[in-house]
């Protein structure tokens, strides 16, 4: 069985969902977010973190977009898990996204559970958590909300927008929706649309959550329970897709967990089983199940070309943004062919685009890991873009 702890209220997580330790911008009802679903979301809270200093010309802002289960704590300790920020290899003083030079912003996505309005936030109309009363949100809605935050911060034009996976989808959406506001864009391990296979994996995860009796049709927070088992299974299934077969073989193979021989039971005999169970049970302590439904759904609906008459090239027509597209050889969730499709569309539109396929066995999650080739590419791309943008070596 899964070693999760049912009926334990995860207080830190609950607190972060509605009253986070991060700075929060609250948009009053006169400034609603009009969602793609056609439903206004209001009032809207956006929780975010910043690192480094905005220069006088406001030309050095880098927006980092987080992935499915990420959050705004790019390079600061996560208040729920106590762990370091999720991209500290990439963001920080002297790192490729150098906080001595750039002003780095990251906000929790709409639909998330770390302080931006999401299904675990209190619905002011009812005084209870939104649950499924929150409108379904899209990647474009996430980007609209980020644009409201950027406006609030007084920044006209971002120096760079970057992120991996779902974060990369947001990067592409930014470049398409607000081309004049994005000087440089770096989507990593991303795609311009979610594939059928990817939607399928997400559906498995959602069904696991909804099949948990403690899900209670999405009203579990009212009833003091949580669909921890369902959410853990969703995470276990998803986690497999983030790694390559080769890396799993190399790390776990068929090795047994703390035992010399199989037990002929359904215990976690194999190390890979034990590892996955751990991934599942630690995930449920930091993530809200309904949030997982919403955020996976936003990726499923992402199809950038569809918004431009079926032509991805049209989405980027006439763009002056400088692009650097990055993929990983062993990523089968967002394979290199997805990145190439983006590159082809940018080329067709005459955009300035670089493309690097980085050789690694680390799979989709490679963008989160210590990968010197990724750092070299990022550093080079940003430095060249900073020269073109006239950003001094030291932030003003």
């Amino acid at each position: 069985m899964l070693h999760s702890r049912p009926n334990i209220i995860h207080t830190a997580r609950m607190r972060e969902a509605d009253a986070p330790q991060s700075p929060v911008v609250r948009f009053a009802p006169d400034r609603p977010l009009i969602t793609d679903a056609g439903v206004p979301l209001s009032p809207l809270s956006i929780a975010y973190q910043t690192y480094g200093r905005l220069n006088a010309a406001k030309s050095n802002a880098v927006l980092v977009c987080h992935a499915l289960t990420g959050d705004q704590h790019v390079a600061s300790q996560n208040p729920v898990t106590g762990k370091p920020g999720w991209w500290e290899t990439m963001v920080g003083a002297g790192k490729p996204i150098d906080t001595d030079r750039y002003f780095v912003i990251c906000s929790n996505v709409v639909g998330g559970c770390m302080g931006t309005t999401g299904p675990a936030s209190i619905n002011p109309a009812t005084g209870r958590a939104y649950g499924l009363d929150l409108p379904v949100v899209t990647v474009r809605d996430m980007v609209r909300a980020q644009a409201m935050l950027i406006d609030h911060l007084g920044i006209d034009r971002l120096f760079c927008v970057t992120g991996g996976s779902m974060g990369g989808m947001q990067v592409l959406q930014w470049a398409a929706s607000f081309p004049e506001r994005v000087f440089a864009a770096m989507p990593i391990a991303a795609a311009a649309k979610h594939s059928s296979q990817n939607i399928a994996f997400h559906e498995v995860g959602r069904q696991a959550i909804m099949a948990d009796p403690d899900w209670r049709d999405g009203r579990y927070l009212d009833e003091g329970v949580q669909p921890l088992k369902g959410l853990a299974v969703a995470r276990m299934a998803a986690h497999i897709t983030y790694m390559s077969d080769g890396a799993l073989q190399a790390k776990f193979g068929r090795k047994l967990q703390d035992r010399a021989a199989p037990t002929f039971s359904f215990d976690a005999d194999f190390q890979i089983e034990s590892y996955l169970r751990h991934q599942g049970s630690s995930f449920v302590e930091r993530f809200d199940a309904n949030s997982y439904l919403y955020v996976t759904r936003s990726m499923d609906y992402f199809d950038l070309a569809a918004d431009y008459g079926g032509s991805l090239a049209a989405a980027f027509k006439g763009t002056r943004t400088r692009f650097c597209v990055v993929s990983f050889t062993s990523d089968w969730l967002f394979p290199t062919s997805d990145s190439r499709a983006i590159v082809h569309a940018l080329n067709a539109g005459g955009a300035s685009v670089s493309f690097v396929e980085i050789e690694t066995d680390k799979g989709h999650d490679a963008f989160l890991l210590d990968l010197p080739e990724l750092f070299a590419t990022t550093r080079g791309f940003l430095e060249a873009a900073a020269r073109a943008r006239g950003i001094a070596a030291e932030a003003a």
Binding site: R322, C324, R340, V343, H344, N347, A348, G350, S352, V353, S354, F355, V356, E357, I358, E359, E373, A376, T377, R379, G380, F381, E383, A384, A385, R387, A388
Partner: protein, 217 residues
Amino acid sequence: MSEAVAIAPGVAPSVRRAARVDLLLIAQMVEVNTRVLDVGCGDGTLLRLLSEERNVDARGIELSQRGVNDCVAKGLSVIQGDADIDLADYPDDTFDYVILSQTLQATRRPRWIIEEMLRIGRRAIVSFPNFGHWRIRAQIAFKGRMPTTENLPHSWYDTPNIHFCTIRDFVALTRRIDARIERSVALNRFGRPIRVGAPWWVWNLFGDQAVFLLRRK
């Protein structure tokens, strides 16, 4: 390198010393303020030369990750890809010039690549080693061995060069694919251009490498 000064007067002295002679020749053939794609751009030396000295909107394709990283670090727009496949993805008339320097002999489909270059660009610039040079001929004729030279040091069994041609072979191909030769220069093995107006057989015998500027008919 005094001859290089004559070849590429628009190029800075520091760059001249560093660059290969064929790159300087190519740079001279490119008009200022144009759009250029360099196929197999390596570490971006030519692209940088073109963007700095010719104010060219310079793009590249390069197979090696190392080369692409070097280019990106220089601020160049370069795509990791294989010329034998990826040229097909570019729309017609995207560039003023498409350049292939010292790479033709290593491609799987040289004819297709030149045709694609002329589809994507209004003009194509191709530089290649001449396999008709007398020293190469002599190695086969007198030693009976596959030729190796300073510029082409690989043995037959480990060479990346799979499609060698001579200058006359190349000229024949341009006729076959209906391309017009706007300019052509053969360089002897000291990097000096062979006298303009010399007959093809002289070029073919004494040209160590050649640079052709082609245009669609």
